[in-house]
Amino acid sequence: EDQVTQSPEALRLQEGESSSLNCSYTVSGLRGLFWYRQDPGKGPEFLFTLYSAGEEKEKERLKATLTKKESFLHITAPKPEDSATYLCAVQEPERLVFGKGTKLTVNP
């Protein structure tokens, strides 16, 4: 079965302090890798889909990259409103397999 591991479990940053979140995966043929953001008490919000190694996607202060073994979510000059849990998932034919997430806190 596909597996997804995210690190670190929690990350505290100061406003403006750039960093990266990691998602490593083991799959037998990647169909798609997904990043979601989840705020407390809410459902996950879709951010990005990556399909092949070398692919990159950006949205505001976030950039997702993909290699054959892992994906990174780079956060540039974060703001307090970027505080959330970031979830990574890989696509199996009929479901997403999620990691446990990285809880990001950005202090002003």
């Binding site: 459902g43 879709f46 889909t49 998932a89 009929e94 479901r95 997403l96 990691g99 446990k100």
Partner: protein
């Protein structure tokens, strides 16, 4: 446009009672999914529907769990004889289809179930 909606948002029930959770997907989305998120755990897949059909029910935790979808739209997840370990947030998602490029799953806000 309207996103995925779920009701109720919170449900407190006594052990042994039955509960029904409802999901209304994004209009036009043929695929619908149920997940469960327990404290400190990742999202656990339960079941998916393509149209009204659920080809694989093996993700349901026990035979107390069942789900149906009617009219290719609304779905209900039913838990019979609830147990304390059923306490979790139940999330519903929908996507345009399954297995192709338009696969992004969009999630509802979830139903927080507490079994006392």
């Amino acid at each position: 446009g309207a996103g995925v909606s779920q009701s109720p948002s919170n449900k407190v029930t006594e052990k042994g009672k039955d509960v029904e959770l409802r999901c209304d997907p994004i209009s036009g989305h043929t695929a619908l999914y149920w997940y469960r998120q327990s404290l400190g755990q990742g999202l656990e897949f339960l079941i998916y529907f393509q149209g009204n059909s659920a080809p694989d029910k093996s993700g349901l935790p026990s035979d107390r769990f069942s789900a149906e979808r009617t009219g290719g739209s609304v779905s209900t997840l039913t838990i019979q004889r609830t147990q304390q370990e059923d306490s979790a947030v139940y999330l519903c998602a929908s996507s345009l289809t399954i297995g192709f490029s338009n696969y992004e799953q969009y999630f509802g806000p979830g139903t927080r179930l507490t079994v006392t």
